[in-house]
């Protein structure tokens, strides 16, 4: 008995109660439990009355997750470029849209969707290297001018894309093996004759989510485990020291820029297949990247994932439950984060 009471006395002697980490962990567990119950339980009527229906709620969550995957793909390139080169690439939305158009052209021409995805990545990576070499190298060390230049580039790019592809809306054709819907093991309602109605969801969107998670894990492994990743992480923390220790920072910059731009192009093709390709999408995804990176923390990949999750869910839930105020919800999240953690949820204070 004495053996078990002694540690308890010790903990009670500590001046503060549970640590912040413990509180957040507990909070996370409670939220997870509530979510699991919401997903698998049969909803009572009062809950249906509040949240419209279980089907609407779960669809909003799934749509939010898919959108978060897409946002993560776009924003992770943005945040890497920002973290390493300290310039806000305001042409990032244009890279997304250009990738989507290129994906459309290649898919339409060859008939292979995967070729379109590859083309979106490769062409935009080359474009990224070109921008890095021709523009950013010349304005090295002047962050504001670099950012201004990207604004100029985005204006020209938007206008030229309008000239080439016009103002119409395109939809990239997905291959047959990605079409159709899957039945998820989640019961949304039980009919009066006792048969359960399962939730169905488009397969393609689940694939988008899976691809985003896979790319995210791949990126994390590359950053955490490889030599190049080590250089990139070192560059985010202190690029001068990295250069001083004999690393060719320009090569690292070019590589990261190519990878970030390529990811934006890839996201363009994937997003253009799930949603649509039209002028104005560049601004939408630029806004998404900005907000995701502000919320998640500048230069942080896990931050981009967390920010994308929050913003994607907020946008879709807002769309279902308070249609004309959905943008405000996103905005409130951004302001709240800036008010309490100006460097972003996962960002480091500089």
């Amino acid at each position: 008995m004495t053996d078990t009471t002694r540690p308890m006395q010790e903990t009670s002697l500590r001046p503060q109660g549970p640590t912040g980490r413990q509180v957040f962990g507990l909070l996370g567990l409670v939220v997870a439990a509530v979510l699991l119950w919401l997903i698998f339980a049969q909803w009572p009527d009062w809950l249906d009355a509040i949240l419209i229906s279980k089907k609407a709620f779960l669809s909003a969550i799934l749509n939010g997750l898919t959108l978060a995957g897409l946002y993560f793909l776009v924003a992770s390139g943005f945040t890497l470029i920002f973290g390493l080169m300290r310039n806000v690439n305001l042409a990032h939305g244009s890279l997304y849209l250009l990738g989507a158009y290129i994906g459309y052209v290649v898919t339409d021409w060859t008939g292979y969707w995967l070729l379109g995805v590859a083309a979106g990545f490769i062409v935009l990576a080359v474009v990224g290297i070109a921008i890095q070499r021709l523009v950013f190298r010349r304005l090295e060390g002047d962050d504001l001018r670099q950012t201004l230049v990207t604004i100029g580039l985005s204006i020209i790019a938007a206008d030229l894309m309008l000239a080439v592809w016009g103002g119409g809306t395109y939809q990239i054709a997905t291959p047959e093996w990605l079409d159709g819907a899957v039945k998820l093991p989640v019961v949304t309602a039980v009919k009066s004759n006792g048969t359960a109605v399962y939730l169905t969801y488009p397969l393609y969107r689940l694939v988008v989510l899976g691809a985003a998670i896979a790319i995210g894990i791949g990126m994390w492994l590359m950053l955490a485990r490889t030599r190049i990743g080590m250089m990139v992480r070192a560059g985010v923390d202190d690029r001068e020291m990295l250069a001083a220790s004999g690393v060719n920072v320009h090569a690292v910059f070019a590589l990261v820029f190519a990878f970030g731009a390529g990811l934006a192009g890839l996201a363009g093709v994937i997003g253009g297949s799930a949603l649509s390709v039209a002028p104005g999408e560049d601004v939408r995804y630029l806004l998404a990247s900005l907000v995701v990176v502000i919320v998640g923390g500048m230069g942080s990949i896990p931050g981009a994932a967390l920010g994308a999750l929050l913003i994607g869910l907020a946008e879709q839930i807002g769309l279902v439950y308070f249609p004309t105020y959905g943008v405000v919800l996103t905005f409130v999240i951004m302001v709240a984060v800036l008010a309490f953690r100006p460097q972003g949820l996962m960002g480091k204070a500089r």
């Binding site: 002047d142 100029g152 204006i155 206008d159 000239a163 900005l290 996103t330 008010a339």
Partner: protein, 341 residues
């Protein structure tokens, strides 16, 4: 060399050489401009340039003296515009409370200034390059909100048929009165900025721009000074917003779109953000380009042209037209003084 140093010193104090004479000459030119200008040049070029210059001036105040490059100035002008549309008179049959102009205009400008302070308070929590990101996010989110929301902003169509008031028997939307109204507002704002940059507040703000950490250590409230600069910029942008909505007679989400937000930055950067005359120079150039370049390159590719002009300016001269002028002028002056070898 001493001529160079003199000019640098004078520019730092906000005074180009021969400033007073230049100001008088400029004022006379601008006041007499209606004598030679047609109605089109008076309103579409003159008045519109002055309005755009005012909005860009509010950005110049923040960027030049405070080091905060904002992309939300058109949003702040839009706040004043929407207030005029909602609480004044409009043809759209939504709201339109018909407040008299002498209540409406100060109220609209106050709303804009408060909105600006809010944007400032949000964005000064971070610094430097982040300000651009945050203000662009705010501008874009406001645009989407105005487009989706019908209960306040009347959604996509916005508000139409917003008249300028008739005061003292003058229709202030008539070409001549409207030009002088814009000119008066712009001169007032310009003079206020010139005065303000040498006031205690202006000098403190510039010191904070150069070294916030030291100013903080000296006991200055950095955040409060920055937010007050945002408030002042909001007053200027709000006045411009009122003029803009009278000029166009309508306001819609298109007025505060991302393109127009970036346009304000382009005007300020092309003109030069080191001196308050820069935004007006930039505005005249951009408005002239907008009006006449369409005949040269066609309406469709206008943005490519303006984008290239912007890129060239950013690459060649970070201080815009003013920077170009200052770069070549001292050399000419020095060459005149140096004897031939």
């Amino acid at each position: 060399m001493s001529a160079d140093a003199d000019i640098v010193g004078a520019v730092a104090a906000g005074q180009a050489p021969g400033t007073a004479a230049a100001h008088v000459a400029l004022a006379v030119l601008l006041v007499l401009y209606p004598l030679v200008a047609s109605d089109f040049f008076l309103t579409q070029i003159g008045g519109y340039s002055l309005i755009q210059g005012l909005i860009a001036l509010s950005l110049m105040l923040l960027a030049g003296y405070g080091g905060m490059v904002s992309l939300a100035q058109i949003t702040i002008a839009g706040v004043a515009g929407y207030v005029v549309a909602i609480f004044g008179v409009n043809n759209s049959g939504v709201h339109g409370f018909g407040w008299p102009w002498w209540v409406l205009v100060p109220f609209a400008i106050l709303c804009a200034a408060l909105a600006s302070s809010l944007v400032g308070w949000i964005s000064v929590r971070t610094s430097g390059i982040y300000t651009i990101m945050i203000t662009l996010a705010i501008a874009t989110a406001s645009f989407y909100f105005a487009q989706q929301n019908y209960s306040f902003f009347n959604g996509f169509p916005g508000y139409n048929g917003i008249p300028a008031p008739q005061v003292l028997g003058v229709n202030w939307r008539g070409p001549m009165p409207f030009y002088y109204l814009c000119l008066g507002t712009a001169s007032l704002a310009y003079a206020a900025v010139l005065y303000g940059q040498r006031s205690t507040f202006g000098l403190t703000l510039q010191a904070i721009r150069d070294n916030p950490r030291r100013m903080h250590a000296l006991g200055f409230d950095v955040t409060a000074h920055k937010v007050f600069a945002w408030f002042l910029a909001g007053v200027i942008a709000g006045a411009a917003g009122v003029l803009l909505v009278w000029f166009q007679g309508r306001i819609s989400p298109g007025t505060i779109s991302v393109g127009t937000a970036i346009n304000v930055l382009i005007i300020a950067v092309i003109g030069g953000i080191r001196h308050p005359i820069g935004p007006f120079l930039g505005a005249v150039l951009v408005v002239l380009l907008q009006t006449f370049a369409i005949d040269i390159v066609g309406a469709a590719r206008f943005n490519t042209l303006i984008g290239f002009v912007f890129l060239v300016i950013v690459f060649v001269s970070p201080d815009g037209i003013l920077g170009l002028w200052q770069r070549f002028r001292p050399r000419a002056a020095r060459e005149a003084w140096t004897p031939e070898p």
